[in-house]
């Protein structure tokens, strides 16, 4: 019995700004269900940050689950493997998340035949036999990218640039976006595998310490992991305050390690390597089970959705199939968002394929989707108060409207993480993030042209 009225954990958080949008974790209690493969898989060749991968298959080729279909094409690029078995129908263009036509590999699915190298058994494999370099090699071969949404190729993150060494591995199990629960369910159902994945990442990054950051609203996951890490050396669990954007790399490092990553610097410059908990699970599957990244857990949710679910989806599945599995498109749907409501992107149709970075599909009711008319800025400074990077969003938004790119650069627009806190709080309904994104694109182009 606990006599003292103090909390055992004091939930940490980052230093400035942030907001607390309604959590809406409607699907948190629903276990992961595997979705059957689609009839036609459409796998875009852009599935990671950096250079698009080059297809290595052509029309008529037969593929199995796990066959390499596109090769990494440069330093920042990743391999892509088939998530289905069947015949390649064509390499053509499809409108993807970006809203533009992009090249993708179309595969007509036949059966569900997996590559012989992949170990499909459920048995937990704890023993780590490979050296750090070998682990990174396997991660690269299997096309593992950051599953938090940024899709940065993992093998590059684990190899710090010259002059920097990693000290701590930070596991991002925060899932601060409202509605999304895929990481939460993965933690509850695959905790042992995730911990082995964390050990693999620790070995690959050559660090002795790992910290798992979990937000307060996932008390069951915090309890489960706090219990399990007792059997591992060097791993601890830290509870974090429910504050958006707790899951942002720089803010997570600030909250857990009390270190601030400098402007324009990488997290490894303060000794931290951050990986999403879903990536840790993918690393376990890649190294211990020889399984490339071909499927991931996607939350499908929304206030009018009949069955908010967490589905294990093959890459290349059209989101129409997820919507049907969740009970069909609600009648009052106004927007379909891929990702979370804060940083996700509205999409133009339901044929958009699920890619490696897709963590959720949200069906927002029409009344909640429509923006109200933009009004003039009233200089209330709420945006400044909530900006977690300490910027002045009203000023950057005005610079975007008036095309003042050099002013925007001077006011540190490149530090913006596009979290959306400013747009969320603005009482004049100004679409600040839209203008700031424009500033970043233009100022970024100017900066690159200078070099």
């Amino acid at each position: 019995m606990d006599f003292f009225p103090f909390k055992k954990y004091t939930s940490r958080s980052f230093r400035i700004g942030g907001i607390h949008p309604p959590e809406c974790k409607l699907s948190a209690g629903n276990p992961i269900v595997a979705l059957s493969p689609p009839e036609t898989a459409v796998i875009p060749i852009v599935q990671s940050l950096g250079i698009p991968s080059s297809p290595v298959v052509k029309k008529g080729d037969r593929v199995k689950v796990g066959t390499l279909i596109a090769r990494s094409n440069g330093f920042v690029s990743a391999n892509i493997h088939s998530s289905v078995s069947g015949i390649v129908r064509k390499i053509d263009e499809i409108t993807d998340q970006s809203g533009y036509l992009r090249t993708a590999i179309f595969i007509d699915v036949e059966g569900d035949e997996w590559s012989e190298e992949i170990d499909r058994s459920e048995e937990l494999v704890k023993e780590i036999k490979l050296s750090p370099r070998e682990i990174i090699g396997v991660i690269e071969k299997n096309g593992i990218v950051g599953l938090g949404g940024a899709t940065f190729p993992t093998h590059i993150k684990l190899t710090p640039p010259a002059g920097m060494t990693a000290e701590v591995l930070v596991i991002n199990a925060v899932e601060c976006e409202p509605y999304l629960t895929s990481d939460h369910r993965l933690m509850l159902e695959k905790s042992d595998e995730i911990l082995v994945g964390i050990e693999l990442l620790m070995k690959a990054a050559q660090v002795k310490k790992a910290v798992i950051g979990i937000e307060d609203n996932k008390a069951d996951a915090i309890r489960l992991f706090s219990e399990k890490v007792r059997h591992y050396t060097g791993i601890e669990v830290v509870a974090l305050k429910v504050q958006y954007p707790q899951g942002s790399e720089k803010h997570l490092i600030d909250a857990i390690l009390h270190r601030q990553v400098g402007s324009g610097q990488l997290p490894v410059s303060v000794g931290a390597v951050v990986q999403n908990v879903g990536t840790a699970f993918a690393v376990y599957e890649a190294v211990q089970k020889n399984k490339p990244l071909v499927e991931r857990v996607v939350t499908i949710s929304g206030k009018s959705v009949h069955r908010p679910s967490n589905l294990l989806v093959r890459v290349g599945t059209p989101i129409r199939q997820l919507i049907d599995a969740a009970g069909g498109l609600p009648e009052d749907t106004g927007k379909i968002i891929v990702g979370g409501p804060m940083m996700g992107k509205a999409v133009v149709n339901m044929e958009i394929p699920v890619v490696k970075g897709c963590s959720g599909v949200l069906l927002m009711p029409s009344l909640e989707s429509q923006r109200t008319k933009m009004k003039p800025c009233i200089r209330c400074s709420r945006c400044v108060q909530v900006c977690p990077m300490g910027l002045e969003p009203y000023l950057l938004g005005a610079a975007g409207e008036l095309s003042l790119w050099d002013r925007a650069e001077h006011e540190r627009v490149m530090d913006c993480i596009e979290c959306g806190c400013c747009s969320f709080t603005c009482p004049a309904n100004r679409p600040l993030v839209d203008f700031i994104r424009l500033c970043k694109a233009k100022a970024g182009a100017i900066i690159r042209a200078r070099k």
């Binding site: 809203g99 679409p431 203008f435």
Partner: protein
């Protein structure tokens, strides 16, 4: 009385000393400048539009005085008339060049190019273009928010409320190039104004394959090549699924306009063609 005299003399002394200091400083730090710069600047339009490529009218005036010839220096707002005056002032020959005009190369009205979703973001073409491919099936077409209208300093372009496309007012356009730079889809191009203001151009910038662009817009260019075959002056090239008419080679014969199956080639300011009666 004494104090009044003293105050007056003191103030006069301060005034006198200040005058001397100012005079000395003004002479010491005087910027020597060719007087012609000021004279030229006075006859320039003072719009500071940057169409000449120099920072403002003053910048252009300085460039004119510094250069030995006026080759490559032209104020598009003032045109040949103005450059003749500048030439006269500097005692050099004034260049004449062809009058250009802004041309909008998209005909994707609501009738031709149906909308397939609704855009609900910041009302700026640059922002929408960055976010996604637009609310129609053609991701190259005009987005109708009027970034070009905002950029124009001469009120020479406006968005037609019915077609939702920009239209250039011929008399006011000075070919300064601001709208060309403002359009994120590079729909507006600077082309020759043409004799009697007549010009012919491909009214489309869609680079998707013919089948895709035709499905999105009924008047898109499908790069079938019929125009290239019809042209006797080698003015038409095809690349990236799009036809392009070189305005320097075009003879304004209109052969291409007639053969285009999607009516993607536009002719401006031509008299209506007389119908040829067919003889049975």
């Amino acid at each position: 009385m004494n104090i009044i005299l003293l105050s007056t003399l003191l103030l006069a002394a301060i005034g006198g000393i200040s005058a001397v200091i100012l005079n000395v400083v003004a002479r010491r730090f005087q910027v020597d400048e060719d007087d012609r710069v000021r004279l030229i600047e006075e006859i320039l339009p003072a719009a500071n539009c940057g169409g000449c490529g120099y920072p403002g009218c003053r910048g252009f005036a300085e460039a004119c005085v510094k250069a030995s010839t006026l080759a490559g220096l032209r104020c598009p707002v003032g045109g040949d008339e103005l450059m003749a005056k500048v030439g006269a002032m500097l005692g050099v020959a004034a260049p004449t060049s062809v009058q250009m005009i802004a041309v909008v190369r998209c005909n994707g009205t609501c009738d031709h190019r149906p909308k397939i979703n609704r855009y609900d973001g910041a009302q700026s073409c640059a922002v929408e273009s960055m976010l996604y491919g637009g609310d129609t099936g053609c991701s190259y077409g005009c987005l109708s928010h009027g970034d070009c209208v905002k950029a124009c300093r001469f009120d020479a372009i406006y968005i037609n409320r019915e077609t939702l496309l920009p239209e250039v007012i011929e008399d006011k356009c000075t070919a300064c190039g601001a709208c060309v730079k403002a359009c994120p889809k590079t729909i507006i191009e600077m082309r020759k104004k043409g004799p009697g203001s007549r010009r012919i151009f491909v009214n489309c910038v869609n680079k998707d394959k013919g089948a895709v662009s035709r499905k999105a817009c009924s008047v898109s260019c499908i790069a079938c090549g019929k125009c290239q075959q019809a042209c006797n002056y080698n003015a038409i090239t095809l690349s990236d699924n799009l036809a392009y008419i070189d305005y320097n080679m075009c003879s304004l014969c209109r052969a291409c306009v007639e053969v285009c199956p999607t009516s993607a080639i536009a002719e401006l300011n031509f008299p209506a063609k007389k119908r040829q009666e067919s003889v049975d």
